[in-house]
Symmetry: C2
Amino acid sequence: MPENRDFVKGSGTRDKILKTATKLFSELGYKGASVRKIASEVGIRESALYNHFKNKEEIFLEVAKEIFSSPFSISEEEIRELARRGKPFLQKFTMQYKMLTFDKRNENMFRLLMIELLQNQELREQFMSEFHQKNIKLLSEGFFIMMQNSLIRSADPMIAAYEYLSTLFYIRLQVTLLRFDNNSTNTLATQFEKHLDFFWESIRSE
Amino acid sequence: MPENRDFVKGSGTRDKILKTATKLFSELGYKGASVRKIASEVGIRESALYNHFKNKEEIFLEVAKEIFSSPFSISEEEIRELARRGKPFLQKFTMQYKMLTFDKRNENMFRLLMIELLQNQELREQFMSEFHQKNIKLLSEGFFIMMQNSLIRSADPMIAAYEYLSTLFYIRLQVTLLRFDNNSTNTLATQFEKHLDFFWESIRSE
DNA sequence: GTCTATATTTGGATAGAC
DNA sequence: GTCTATCCAAATATAGAC
């Protein structure tokens, strides 16, 4: 069996530290998640923790790496194929986004992102490039193809992408906030589908 | 002259503390903005600060109060009047939102909101009710009237409101992030107008 | 209302025994 | 690799003089 780089499934102390740190950082933020709390929850002393990481910052950076490592599994090929059919492209994108939103692991990462977004410049830059621009690019390509095939009305593909993405993000944020307080997300459960339908109705050709 | 409840313009030490605390909380977060830093920047000792506030939490809550106290200045009357004319309603709403986004004081408050959103349950609840639901209600009313007057296509007014608001929020977030790093917001400067136009084109009757 | 001085806690990090 | 013991800095908060 090849070595497992995904620390979630790891069993060593180092992996345990990263797993615990992820949880605590995403609940308490960088400052709130003290080395003491992390070590305690892992079940070791702070000094033992320093055998695995140089300092707290190194733990955080290792954890933060994971935030943007869950890209969509859509190939260029698939984009073109789906976009030529119109709505199925948006459907695929939306459902993948919904899955990420409700996935426990990604939920923690998104929390961490939101908590540290205004405290960490590198995170902001990565948010802009990995979260925003990457998705805008992907969506734009899809919309562009749809326009070429006259499936949707003529418009700036980038604007359409921006409009579509922004609502997905807002839903995700709301879901994250509600789940943080263990509130029901019933009213938001179908919001992704409503968004998809409303938007498609807004942009499809007559 | 009547007493001034708005601590921004106040001149007493208490007001100075609140003003400084607002700035530091919105830049460093709750934990990062220590009582020491606040007192130091105000120009007094920590102990002197405790003559004005019971503790740090009390300062924060006083500051946080302001976050949601900048509602739109649109009366019920005006909503109906503008909505009957269609696009002007959205125009008015959008421009007010844009003004808040670029207003220095509100920018700080929005930063603070984003920083502490996942650290403070009360803030989350207020965000949902004061930020989200209030705007959804206002926009829904407008869309409902437009539909009654056949200015826009038939749809769920709440969904339309959700779609419209979410993009405004996303633009605001991006602007806030860019300005935090002193990056140019040139590309986003016209995003509000683009959103308005795209959306109106999406929903207006043929 | 502000100061100095101080109590107390928490947090990051290291030394050295096992 | 983990432990105990310890150091040091920073943070919240209070007491009492002026």
